[in-house]
């Protein structure tokens, strides 16, 4: 398997003449094709900045990020992001279906075929009858499903997920996690999930990368020894799940206590 996304010695500073703030320093990571990887770290460690850099929405101070072997200077083709702030990332003047079609701008094919595909995706996220609705006419959880469908619609080789489930309630959250895993497997979608929720990171991924405090970098890699098939009840009681969860949580807690000391 080849690396689809790599980051080598990435550093990002903010600020100008008044003094710089180092957000990321010496960060390395690699995501292989077909993988589901989670990036987890203590709050305020620079996760969002890292995601923006990986997506090509922000420039680096040092180091290099490549996507399919090509250095990322601007948002590359074949990479999509599902933002946490779904209510603002969906276009309120377009219907749900048009929002998904907007996600297919770079996809080749005639209009009719795209329309069919968009309708199919809406069906896949369980919103079959809501194509003609506007995003603000459906609930928050449904809006996030539309955003996910839009991410999948772009037929990207890599989907960056920026805490996509942070703003929905617990029940919806569990349902969406399974929906996500299901879709990712069905479309053989490579995913990189950025989150602060350790349970979610472990539950979803085959590999968890733990970020250190600011200036952040990957401090540990935890391989999740679980089958790809996951289940809300069984997986969460599996000794392998519990062990991984324990490892990541205690690592993050130790960072917090060290910071406080």
């Amino acid at each position: 398997m080849t690396d689809i996304l790599t980051a080598r010695n990435v550093a990002k500073d903010f600020g100008g003449t008044g003094g710089t703030l180092s957000i990321i320093d010496g960060l390395n990571l690699a995501v292989k094709k077909g993988e589901f990887v989670s990036l987890v770290g203590p709050s305020g460690c620079g996760k969002t900045t890292l995601l923006l850099c990986l997506a090509g929405l922000q420039s680096l101070t040092r180091g290099e990020i490549t996507f399919k072997g090509v250095p990322v200077m601007e948002p590359p083709q074949g990479l999509a992001v599902v933002f946490q702030d779904y209510s603002r990332s969906l276009l309120p003047w377009n219907t749900n279906l048009d929002n998904i079609l907007f996600g297919m701008r770079r996809v080749a094919g005639d209009a009719r075929a795209k329309r069919d595909r968009a309708a199919e995706l809406l069906e896949a996220v369980g919103l079959g009858g809501f194509g003609g609705h506007y995003p603000w006419q459906v609930s928050g959880g449904m809006q996030q499903r539309v955003a996910i469908a839009r991410g999948l619609a772009s037929e990207s080789e890599l989907l960056l997920l920026d805490e996509p489930l942070a703003a929905v309630d617990a029940q919806t959250r569990a349902d969406m996690q399974d929906l996500f895993l299901d879709l990712a497997r069905k479309f053989n979608q490579t995913c990189l999930l950025v989150t602060h929720d350790v349970e979610e990171a472990v539950y979803m991924a085959q590999r968890v990368l733990v970020l250190g405090p600011r200036p952040t970098k990957v401090v540990r890699e935890v391989t999740i020894e679980l089958p790809r098939e996951r289940d809300q009840l069984e997986t969460r009681e599996d000794p392998a799940f519990l062990a991984a969860r324990h490892e990541v949580l205690s690592l993050i807690r130790s960072m917090r206590t060290r910071k406080a000391a």
């Binding site: 923006l52 997506a55 929405l57 601007e74 948002p75 083709q77 990479l79 999509a80 992001v81 933002f83 702030d85 603002r88 990332s89 276009l91 309120p92 003047w93 907007f102 996600g103 701008r105 770079r106 506007y134 603000w136 006419q137 772009s154």
Partner: protein, 259 residues
């Protein structure tokens, strides 16, 4: 609280009836001399006479078309300038200096200065109306373009939108509700600017007619014409609302939902 019957057009009609009744009562009580305060029938008669002679209709057509054309031109110019300000922050900042200086000047002040260069015709009206009407669409538009949600812009960029696609597909639609709020405000200003210009140096139009009749002490005519001015405002507002529903209907429905 208000019975639904008393909303919207019905409410306005009832209010109008009340005002007219009060008016007639004051007239009949003869508190103010007849000469200054004609009764409703006299005003209606004046209205009828002016319509019959064709003066009113031709004057109205002139005033209304001046204001409408001015508003359309000013709105397009305002949106264009807002887009330019969005593409170039330096231009945006620089143009703000100009708008700060020009905005507090009343339309009436421009008229005497521009008469010599532009004459008394269409050019004068266009100049005055555009100069005072362009600000609301421009200021609202540039503020709204600046305030477009960064997440939406990022989404667009991830989907490979270039500068122009981003503007056309994301920034402009998102700024349109604000721009229309500006155009609505501009519609009022545009009518006032035309009427004032006609009063000051016109030779036709409703403003000119009001001024002439007032000096001739034709009070009933003045009242009838003022009614037409008010009606113009309502008509213009209706037209803008209609257009707004077409362009940013989604936003109105969204706001209603949130209430």
């Amino acid at each position: 609280m208000t019975p639904p019957l008393l909303r919207g057009p019905v409410r306005v009609a009832v209010a109008l009836a009340v005002v007219l009744a009060l008016w007639q009562a004051v007239h009949l009580a003869a508190i103010v001399p007849e000469r200054y305060f004609p009764g409703i029938p006299a005003v209606l008669a004046a209205f009828g006479d002016m319509i019959a002679s064709g003066d009113l209709l031709s004057g109205w057509a002139l005033t209304f078309s001046r204001a409408t054309i001015g508003l359309i031109a000013a709105s397009l110019l305002g949106i264009g300038l807002a887009i330019l300000s969005d593409l170039s922050p330096v231009f945006g900042r620089g143009f703000r200096y100009i708008s700060d200086v020009l905005q507090p000047i009343p339309p009436a002040a421009f008229v005497p200065m521009a008469v010599f260069s532009l004459g008394l015709g269409t050019k004068l009206y266009a100049f005055v109306v555009i100069l005072v009407t362009v600000w609301p669409p421009y200021l609202n538009g540039s503020a709204a373009l600046e305030a477009v949600s960064p997440v939406q812009v990022a989404t667009g960029r991830m989907l490979g939108c270039g500068r122009w696609t981003l503007l056309w597909r994301i920034k402009l639609p998102s700024a349109m509700p604000e721009i229309f709020a500006g155009i609505r405000y501009a519609a009022t200003i545009s009518l006032v600017a035309v009427v004032v210009s006609e009063m000051l140096s016109g030779s036709n139009g409703i403003g000119f007619m009001i001024y002439k009749k007032a000096f001739a002490l034709r009070t009933a005519d003045v009242f009838a014409l003022m009614f037409v001015v008010g009606l113009n405002g309502v008509l213009m507002n209706g037209l803008v609302s209609l257009l707004r529903r077409g362009v940013v209907g989604w936003h109105q429905k969204m706001m209603e939902r949130q209430e």
